[in-house]
């Protein structure tokens, strides 16, 4: 076969494979994604069959109930907050006033955090430190 034609065929096959893989990537990421949301939006629109990545600030007054940590996550700006029950690793920097990200599902009136999904942003890297509150 003519080498130029052969190269062209290879290129078409490679591009086809790349498009196919990219399509798979798009499709699976849409299916596996958790919506990122704020407490106020979550409180208004959450449905029980979906998981959400909740972002916001930890409100004062969190406590442990056996293996579970019970805390409220509030909007970064605003006063809305939702209650979260969470089991799993609690990051060292977790405390009131800190920004957290946690994957949750709605269970009745509270949100249940996915095990080990709680992330607290590193406070050392905040240019302007948020005021701390006691729990």
């Amino acid at each position: 076969m003519d080498p130029t034609r052969r190269r062209r065929i290879r290129l078409v096959i490679a591009l086809g494979a790349a498009v196919l893989l990219a399509g798979a990537l798009v499709y699976t990421s849409l299916g596996a994604a958790s919506d990122a949301t704020t407490p106020s939006r979550l409180a208004a629109t959450a449905s029980p069959d979906r998981s959400y990545r909740l972002t916001g600030r930890v409100m004062p007054g969190y406590h442990r109930d056996g293996d579970e940590l019970i805390f409220r996550v509030g909007d970064r700006i605003g006063s809305a907050s939702v209650s979260v029950r969470y089991a799993g690793v609690v990051p060292d920097p977790f405390r009131a006033g800190r920004e957290v990200i946690v994957t949750v599902r709605k269970r009745g009136t509270v949100f249940v955090g996915e095990r080990d999904s709680l992330v607290t942003k590193c406070p050392s890297k905040f240019s302007s430190q948020a005021p701390e509150h006691s729990s």
């Binding site: 190269r7 990051p91 920004e99 890297k125 240019s127």
Partner: protein, 714 residues
């Protein structure tokens, strides 16, 4: 000193701008003096930034709180080692570290190439200084590390406790060295495109610096992962966090370039590919820095409230547009000198390896930026988690490891059946033997991805061993040296090749560790009182007693655990949690410790076969009544009286501890990750070290240049 620091940074910006102007002027006019002046501007830049960095470092070591940055990130009680590292714990200090390292590396590269690449160097110098000017402008106008604290506080806030780990001394400088060094090949590639000098010269000259960047970035990532495993209380070494991903992306494209560069050097092929890879790597290195500083994506590592996002975004857009325009307008000069002759050849395998690396990079890029992509398309920000990343990266990693075994043994140009049979027999036999042996283990049989990874690694180990053995045998036949001596001479004479093979073996070992530890890990979260035992992964872990300790900086509460297997004592583990006082004046003298920062110290029994990892979370809630009671009775306790009261809390915890929450992990072969990484680092060092021939050649070039100068003077 503050003013001296500010003056240095302003000078740095002016020097960078001057250097850009004279380099471009010299290149356009073909006047060597201006070009040399531009190069010297980079040396001067490195000089003034070194002074600025030393001023800041000295301020931290002296606890000079008139520097606002020192007051907010260090204290008099911070140990000296951590005072030194606190410089780069802040946005401002880390930016200064970035631009300082960048200037140092740029100076070294321009000095090393001062007699080569004469047409390319002026443009590369201007581009390097463009990078430097951008970062210098950031530290001059937007994030100055030399802000005055007025009035200066009597005491500083101290270094964030999470950052008090020896890795803090190595991890950030290594990462930044990697990022900044990757900007150097970027600059030379762009310079080669501007000057239309697109032969192999720039690739040959830049290969070593790209390798150095790859080495530093890889080592930095490895140290970060190790830090996470051995210190942070979550029990993992990789979390697919955006900032972690951002460091991995340029490393992957850099790895791809190091392989495909060989094809261009040998055969004059893949020119567009190589130049695109280098430019993409440079942009991804800046993107990594941008992600940490912009706060655009939710990451544990990101600087939260930052104003640097927009300038960084603008800079990246300029880099991307400039790169695309340069490549597109130079396509005619990037024509390959040869074509692939066969699908089964080393060139094709290298290209396949490149595609896998780029595939990995693209998957990680897509997953990392998916929140922004989904928000742009659907209006709703959404993100993907570790299972999604694993779904793609696991098969790609298996393919990558397998290819890293194929590459060294397959022939250039065209592999014949005969040489394929000769070269692949042993590696394939090793992979088959590994498969047969591992299939006998039911747990492994049930996990095909792990099984495939182990077989691919066996293939790589055998391929590398075979190449080393063959080379040694050939060397012995010609020189009559002993086997160890022949092996040493073989590696010394072909550092790049054999260093690369060692890296391949290290990477295979690393992935064996990743596959084993992520697939066969046992995790349990338990609440135990002293005397109680939990079982995990065939081990019994007994909570023997609570521990407590006081130091000037913190109170530490923990647990003494006894690790037993089959009734036999294996180790004693002492996980604990240190509580550092908050500076919040509304808190009582005791509560401020328990509502301040806390850090976990992991209790770890590490070994080649498995790690037993433990972390403890003392139940402070149960101690709250005592803490609040002391605060009510002694609201003004300070100094020695506070220490006595804190001691009472510590004693009470040790004597009558409430049940503690423990995370227990038994993870097989985690040490293989660090060991594989170190083997890779050793291989990288071998490849980086100048070959004796190269050193001799460079010495003779220098001698010739000196002779030439002396003759012209005479």
């Amino acid at each position: 000193m503050l003013n001296s620091g500010r003056v240095c940074l302003t000078f740095a910006l002016l020097i960078a701008l001057y250097g850009i102007a004279v380099s471009l002027y010299g290149a356009r006019r073909g006047e060597r003096n201006w070009v040399d002046s531009g190069r010297r501007a980079v040396y001067a830049l490195a000089g003034v930034l070194t002074v600025a960095f030393v001023i800041l470092e000295a301020a931290f070591l002296r606890s000079d709180f008139s520097f606002a940055l020192v007051g907010s990130h260090s204290s008099t009680t911070t140990p000296t080692f951590y005072k030194a590292t606190a410089v780069w714990s802040s946005q401002e200090g880390s930016l200064l570290l970035w631009v300082w390292l960048f200037a140092i590396w740029s100076s070294l590269v321009l000095f090393a190439t001062r007699r080569r690449l004469r047409e390319i160097a002026p443009y590369a110098t201007a581009i390097l200084l463009g990078f430097a000017a951008f970062f210098a402008a950031l530290v001059v106008f937007l994030a100055s590390p030399f802000e005055l604290a007025d009035p200066a506080p009597a005491e500083g806030a101290g270094l964030q406790p999470l950052l008090r780990h020896p890795s803090m001394m190595v991890h950030p400088p290594m990462l930044y060295s990697g990022y900044t060094l990757f900007a150097v090949p970027f600059a030379f590639a762009a310079g080669a495109l501007v000057a239309r000098r697109l032969g192999t010269d720039w690739i040959a000259a830049m290969r070593r610096f790209a390798l150095a960047a790859w080495f530093f970035l890889g080592f930095g990532i490895l140290i970060g992962a190790r830090w996470s495993w051995s210190e942070l209380g979550w029990g993992g070494y990789w979390a697919w966090d955006p900032v972690e991903n951002a460091s991995l992306m340029p490393w992957l494209t850099g790895t791809a370039f190091l392989h495909s560069a060989m094809i261009q050097e040998r055969r004059g092929m893949l020119k567009v590919w190589n130049v695109s890879l280098v430019l993409a790597t440079g942009v991804l290195a800046v993107l990594g820095t941008f992600l940490v500083r912009s706060g655009i994506l939710d990451s544990i590592h990101a600087f939260g409230a930052s104003t640097l996002g927009k300038p960084f975004l603008g800079f990246i857009i300029v880099l991307v547009i400039g790169s695309v325009v340069l490549v597109v307008t130079r396509l005619d000069a990037l024509r390959p000198e040869a074509h692939f002759e066969a699908l089964l050849s080393r060139e094709s395998i290298f290209l396949l390896n490149n595609l896998v690396l780029l595939g990995l990079c693209f998957v990680i890029f897509w997953g990392t930026f998916f929140p922004l992509i989904s928000e742009a398309v659907t209006g709703q920000r959404a993100s993907v988690g570790p299972p999604w990343f694993d779904g793609y990266t696991v098969p790609l990693a298996i393919a990558l490891v397998f290819l890293s075994g194929v590459g060294p043994v397959i022939a250039w140009r065209r592999a014949t059946l005969r040489n394929a049979r000769r070269n692949f027999r042993l590696p394939l036999a090793a992979a088959a033997a590994a498969a047969l042996a591992l299939m006998l283990v039911p747990d492994i049989r049930r996990e095909p991805p792990a099984l495939l990874m182990f077989c691919a690694a066996a293939f790589v180990f055998a391929a590398v061993a075979q190449e080393l053995w063959r080379g040694t045998r050939a060397r012995r036949a010609t020189s009559g040296e002993s086997a160890p001596r022949a092996l040493a001479s073989l590696v010394r004479r072909n550092r790049r090749r054999y260093g690369g093979y060692v890296v391949h073996a290290g990477v295979a070992a690393l992935f064996v560790g990743v596959a084993a530890s992520s697939t066969f890990q046992h995790v349990r979260d338990v609440r135990l009182s002293p005397g109680q035992t939990a079982n995990i992964g065939g081990y019994d872990i007994r909570y023997v007693r609570a521990t407590s300790e006081l130091s000037p900086e913190k109170i530490t509460l923990g647990a003494l655990l006894e690790l037993r297997k089959d009734g036999r004592r294996v180790a004693t583990l002492m996980p604990n949690r240190g509580y550092y006082p908050s500076r919040d004046p509304t808190l009582g003298p005791m509560a401020r410790y328990f509502d301040g920062e806390a850090t976990s110290e992991v209790g770890l029994d590490a070994g080649l076969r498995r790690d037993v990892w433990t972390a403890v979370e003392p139940d402070i809630g149960a101690m709250r009544r005592m803490i609040d009671g002391i605060d009510r009775r002694f609201p003004l306790a300070a100094g020695e009286s506070a220490t006595v009261l804190l001691g009472a809390i510590a004693d009470r915890y040790a004597a009558r501890p409430p049940p503690a929450s423990l995370r227990l992990i038994v993870s097989p072969m985690v040490e293989w990750i660090w060991l594989g990484g170190l083997i890779g680092v050793a291989g990288g060092l071998v490849a980086l070290w100048p070959a004796p021939g190269a050193a001799r050649r460079r010495a003779s070039v220098l001698r010739a240049a000196r002779l030439d100068r002396e003759l012209s003077r005479a």
